[in-house]
C-alpha cells in the first residue's frame, strides 16, 4: 500500500467530522476477510498516531475513559493479552481480564452464557481468544458489545496480521508488490490465514511454504473463498527474492499426529537460516508471531540478528490494538 507522509499524520487532532467515520464500517473485528483496503489503510494511519503517543513520556490519553474492555481468554497467552491490556490502559479504559480454562469448553459451559454475564457487567468491547474456530463470530451474533478476535482455533488472528502489516510498512515503502514468504504450519495457523487475507488485499505477492501435510489444498488456484497464493514445499524457492520472510510456530503435537516425521527433519528442511536468507532480497526482514521455537523454525542467530523485527512486532502490537479500540469506539475522544 502507498501511504503518503501527509496522510500518515496523526488524525487524532482534527476536530470536524473525521473521514474515518465513513471509511470504517466494522462493529466487530473477526477476520480481515471482510476488510476493505481503505479500512486497512485507516488502521495503519491510526496505528501511526498511536505509536506517536507511545513515544511520549506520559503514554496515557483519555480517549477511552469510561469505556470497559474485557479480555476473555480460553487459551493461554502472555504477549497478546498483555498487548491488549496495555493498549486499553494507555487509552484510559477500564479493563478486566477473564481467563477460562479450555477444559470448561468441553464440559459444556456455554460461551453465550459467559458472554451474557460479561455484557451484564457493562463491557463495551470484548476481546476473545478461543481454541475453537468461529467462537468470536458466534459471540458477535449474540452480544451488543464489540467483539475483537484475539485468535480463534485455526481460523483467524486479525490483530496479529494488522500489526504485521504495520511492521512491514515501517521497513518497506509499500505492501503492494512486496514479496512475502510465509514458512511453517500454514494449515493450522490463524496467523498465516489472516496475513494471507491482509497481504493479498493490499497487493503483496505471497508465497506459502510448508511440508505438504501442513499445506491447505486448493489455495494455489483461483476460487471465490480464499485468496490465491503461491504454494511450495521448497524453502529455497520460497525465500528467493523475498522482501519479508515470516516464520510460524510449529506445535510439537504435529509430529505426534504423524504430520511430520520428526522435529529434527522439519528443522533440517524448513528452518530459516542465514544461508537460506542469502538468496532473499538484500534488505529482507524476518518476522515471527512468537513465541519462537529457536533453531526449529528460525535459527537462533537469525532471531537475534539484524534482519529480525520480532521485537518490533511486539511493540507495534500495542499501537495496533490501541488503534482498533479507538476505531471501534467511533473515534470518540475528548482530549
Amino acid at each position: 500500500m502507498e501511504v503518503s507522509q501527509t496522510t500518515m499524520e496523526p488524525k487524532l487532532k482534527t476536530d470536524s467530522a473525521p473521514p474515518e467515520q465513513k471509511i470504517w464500517q466494522h462493529k466487530h473485528i473477526l477476520d480481515l476477510d471482510d476488510f476493505t483496503t481503505a479500512e486497512i489503510e485507516l488502521v495503519m494511519q491510526t496505528t501511526k498516531a498511536m505509536h506517536e503517543i507511545l513515544s511520549r513520556p506520559i503514554k496515557k490519553v483519555p480517549t477511552l475513559r469510561g469505556k470497559t474492555v474485557v479480555t476473555l481468554f480460553y487459551e493461554a497467552s502472555t504477549r497478546t493479552r498483555s498487548s491488549f491490556e496495555l493498549g486499553a490502559k494507555n487509552l484510559s479504559a477500564d479493563i478486566s481480564n477473564l481467563t477460562v480454562s479450555s477444559s470448561s469448553v468441553t464440559k459444556g459451559e456455554s460461551l453465550i452464557d459467559t458472554l451474557e454475564t460479561i455484557e451484564a457487567l457493562g463491557a463495551d468491547i470484548i476481546v476473545i481468544r478461543h481454541p475453537h474456530s468461529g467462537a468470536p463470530d458466534l459471540a458477535s451474533k449474540h452480544v451488543k458489545a464489540s467483539i475483537i478476535n484475539a485468535g480463534d482455533g485455526w481460523h483467524a488472528h486479525p490483530t496479529q496480521a494488522l500489526l504485521d502489516l504495520y511492521t512491514m510498512l515501517q521497513h518497506k515503502n509499500s505492501i503492494k508488490g512486496l514479496k512475502v514468504a510465509i514458512i511453517g504450519d500454514i494449515i493450522h495457523s490463524r496467523v498465516a490465514h489472516s496475513n494471507i487475507w491482509g497481504l493479498t488485499k493490499m497487493g503483496a505477492d505471497v508465497t506459502v511454504c510448508a511440508p505438504s501435510t501442513l499445506l491447505p489444498k486448493g489455495i494455489e488456484n483461483p476460487q471465490p473463498h480464499f485468496p490465491k497464493v503461491k504454494v511450495t514445499t521448497n524453502i529455497d524457492d520460497a525465500i528467493r527474492g523475498a522482501d519479508v520472510v515470516m516464520g510460524l510456530r510449529l506445535q510439537l503435537e504435529r509430529q505426534q499426529n504423524g504430520l511430520i516425521p520428526s522435529i529434527r527433519e522439519y528443522a533440517a528442511l524448513y528452518r530459516i537460516t542465514e544461508e537460506r536468507l542469502a538468496n532473499a532480497a538484500k534488505d529482507v526482514i524476518v518476522m515471527h508471531p512468537g513465541p519462537v521455537n529457536e533453531d526449529i523454525e528460525i535459527a537462533s542467530s537469525v532471531v537475534h540478528g539484524s534482519r529480525s523485527v520480532i521485537n518490533e512486532q511486539v511493540t507495534n502490537g500495542v499501537a495496533v490494538r490501541m488503534a482498533l479500540f479507538y476505531l471501534l469506539t467511533g473515534g470518540n475522544r475528548d482530549e
Binding site: 476477510d33 469448553v105 468441553t106 459444556g108 456455554s110 460461551l111 453465550i112 478461543h130 475453537h132 474456530s133 468461529g134 467462537a135 463470530d137 458466534l138 449474540h142 480463534d152 482455533g153 485455526w154 481460523h155 483467524a156 494449515i187 490463524r190 490465514h193 491447505p216 489444498k217 486448493g218 489455495i219 476460487q223 473463498h225 480464499f226
Partner: protein, 437 residues
C-alpha cells in the same frame, strides 16, 4: 374409520403404476377405491378435497430419520417427529436406533411400536441395531428384533469399523433377508472432522472430512457384500467417488442400494460460511462437483431413493462453537421444497422425484408392513397432496419438529405439502386447503 373421501381434480402421479393423469381419487374405508378422470359413483356423505393444480401421489416414505425417543426427548419425540413428518408429506418413516437405550433388542422395538401406536399420526417402522449398544463388537439379536417388527438394521452414526464384524453381520442378515444399512465413515480419516475437506475448511479453519472417509467404507462394504451375497444399503451417500463405486458394484450384480438426502442434493459446503452450525451435518455438505454426481446417480438409478436423515437437535446444542455443536439437520419439513428446486431447475423430472420418495423405498421395505408407496386399488390410502408451485418462506419457528436446526431458515422454497392422508385419514392439512366443490 371415515367412510369416504374424494380428492378432486389433481394431477395423480403414481410411479408404481406408471400413472400420471389429471383426475379424481376416491377413498373408501381407508383404501384406494378408484382413480379416474372423473369418478362417477360417489358415495353419500363423501368428504372431499379440491386438488386442482396440485400433485396427488402415494404418501412419501422416509427410510432414514431420527425420532430421538427414547432418551433424547428434548430433541424430538415420536409424537412431534411424526407430526413434522406428516407436515412434510411422509406417511411412513423408518427411525434409526441411536436412541438411549439403543434399539438393539425386542423390548426397545416393542417400546417404539407401542409409543408409535399411541402417539404417532403416521406409520413408524423401527430400524434395529446391527451390534449391541451400537458398540461395533457383538451382533444384536437380529432375529428377535425382526420378529418384533424392525424393517432393517443399522448402527447409524457409527460405522462398524471392524471388517470381520461387518462381514459376520452381513452373513447373519441372510437368514432374515433384511438390509444392513451402513453409515460409511472411516473413523481414522474422519477424526475430529467438522466440514468437507476443501477450501471452506481452509477459510474457516475447521478440520476437513475427506471424501475418502466415505469412499473407503463404501468400497469395503461392496467387497463384503460380494463376498457374503448379502445386501448392503449405503446411507446418505455424499461423494462423487462413492456414487461411482456403487454404480460399478451394481453393474457387477452386487446386492447394494443407496439413499441420498435432500440437503446433499441441493446444498454445498458454502452453506457453512459464517459458521452456521445448522449446516453442520454428517456426512458434510460437499462440493458442487459432488452434488452434480449425486443428481446424476439419482437419475441413472445408481442411487435408489431419497431419505431425509432428519436429525433434530435443541437450539442450545446448535448455539455453540462450531466444533462442539452436534451434526444434523431437522429436515422433514423442508424435504419437498428443497427437492422441488431440482424439479423447477430441470435437473430431475417430477415423476422421478416422486418415485424416489415412494415406490423405491417401498421396494426395500418389502411387503411385511402392507403394500406401501402405491395408489393401487384396494391398498391402504396413504397419500400426499402438494402444490408444486407454492412459494413460501421457511420459518423454523413454525416447525412441528422440536428441532429448529435447519440452514434453510428464512429462505424461499417453491413447492409445499398441502395435505397428507394416512390410511384414509387427513393427518395434516395446510390452512389454505379447501374442501372440493
Amino acid at each position: 374409520m371415515n367412510k369416504a373421501m374424494l380428492i378432486k381434480g389433481g394431477r395423480i402421479i403414481d410411479p408404481s403404476q406408471k400413472l400420471d393423469i389429471i383426475g379424481d381419487l376416491l377413498i373408501v374405508d381407508g383404501k384406494i377405491k378408484e382413480i379416474a378422470p372423473a369418478v362417477q359413483n360417489i358415495p353419500e356423505d363423501c368428504g372431499s378435497l379440491d386438488a386442482k393444480g396440485m400433485i396427488v401421489c402415494p404418501g412419501f416414505i422416509d427410510f432414514h430419520c431420527h425420532l430421538r425417543q427414547p432418551g433424547f426427548e428434548e430433541k424430538e419425540t415420536i409424537s412431534t417427529g411424526s407430526k413434522a413428518a406428516a407436515k412434510g408429506g411422509f406417511t411412513t418413516i423408518c427411525c434409526m436406533p441411536n436412541t438411549n437405550p439403543a434399539i438393539d433388542n425386542k423390548a426397545t422395538v416393542d417400546f417404539i411400536k407401542a409409543t408409535a401406536a399411541a402417539d404417532s399420526c403416521i406409520r413408524v417402522l423401527p430400524i434395529g441395531c446391527i451390534t449391541r449398544g451400537r458398540n461395533g463388537k457383538e451382533l444384536a439379536d437380529m432375529g428377535e428384533m425382526v420378529e418384533a417388527g424392525i424393517v432393517a438394521v443399522s448402527d447409524d452414526g457409527s460405522t462398524i469399523a471392524n471388517s470381520r464384524i461387518m462381514k459376520q453381520a452381513l452373513e447373519y442378515s441372510l437368514i432374515f433377508n433384511i438390509p444392513i444399512c451402513d453409515h460409511c465413515e472411516d473413523i481414522d480419516l474422519f477424526e475430529g472432522g467438522q466440514i468437507n475437506e476443501g477450501i471452506m475448511a481452509t477459510r474457516l479453519g475447521l478440520k476437513g472430512i475427506p471424501n475418502a472417509a466415505e469412499e473407503n467404507i463404501v468400497a469395503r462394504d461392496i467387497a463384503l457384500a460380494k463376498l457374503t451375497g448379502a445386501g448392503v444399503h449405503i446411507c446418505h451417500i455424499s461423494t462423487e467417488g462413492a456414487v461411482d463405486l456403487v454404480r460399478s458394484a451394481k453393474k457387477d450384480g452386487v446386492k447394494i442400494s443407496a439413499e441420498v438426502t435432500p440437503h446433499h442434493l441441493t446444498m454445498t459446503e458454502e452453506a457453512v460460511l459464517g459458521f452456521d452450525t445448522n449446516a453442520k451435518v454428517n456426512p458434510p455438505l460437499r462440493s458442487q462437483k459432488d452434488v452434480e454426481a449425486l443428481i446424476l446417480g439419482l437419475k441413472d438409478g445408481t442411487i435408489d431413493m431419497i431419505a431425509t436423515d432428519h436429525a433434530p437437535h435443541t437450539d442450545n446444542e446448535k448455539l455453540r462453537e462450531f466444533a462442539t455443536a452436534p451434526f444434523g439437520i431437522s429436515g422433514f419439513e423442508t424435504a419437498l421444497g428443497s427437492l422441488m428446486k431440482l424439479v423447477h431447475n430441470g435437473d430431475i423430472d417430477i415423476n422421478l422425484m416422486i418415485s424416489k420418495l415412494t415406490e423405491a423405498p417401498a421396494q426395500i421395505i418389502g411387503n411385511n408392513f402392507g403394500k406401501l408407496g402405491t395408489l393401487t386399488q384396494g391398498e391402504t390410502a396413504d397419500i400426499t397432496i402438494f402444490d408444486p408451485n407454492k412459494e413460501w418462506t421457511v420459518n423454523v419457528n413454525e416447525f412441528s419438529s422440536k428441532g429448529k436446526n435447519n440452514p434453510l431458515n428464512g429462505q424461499k422454497l417453491k413447492g409445499k405439502v398441502k395435505a397428507t392422508v394416512f390410511g384414509g385419514e387427513i393427518v395434516y392439512k395446510d390452512n389454505s386447503m379447501e374442501p372440493g366443490a
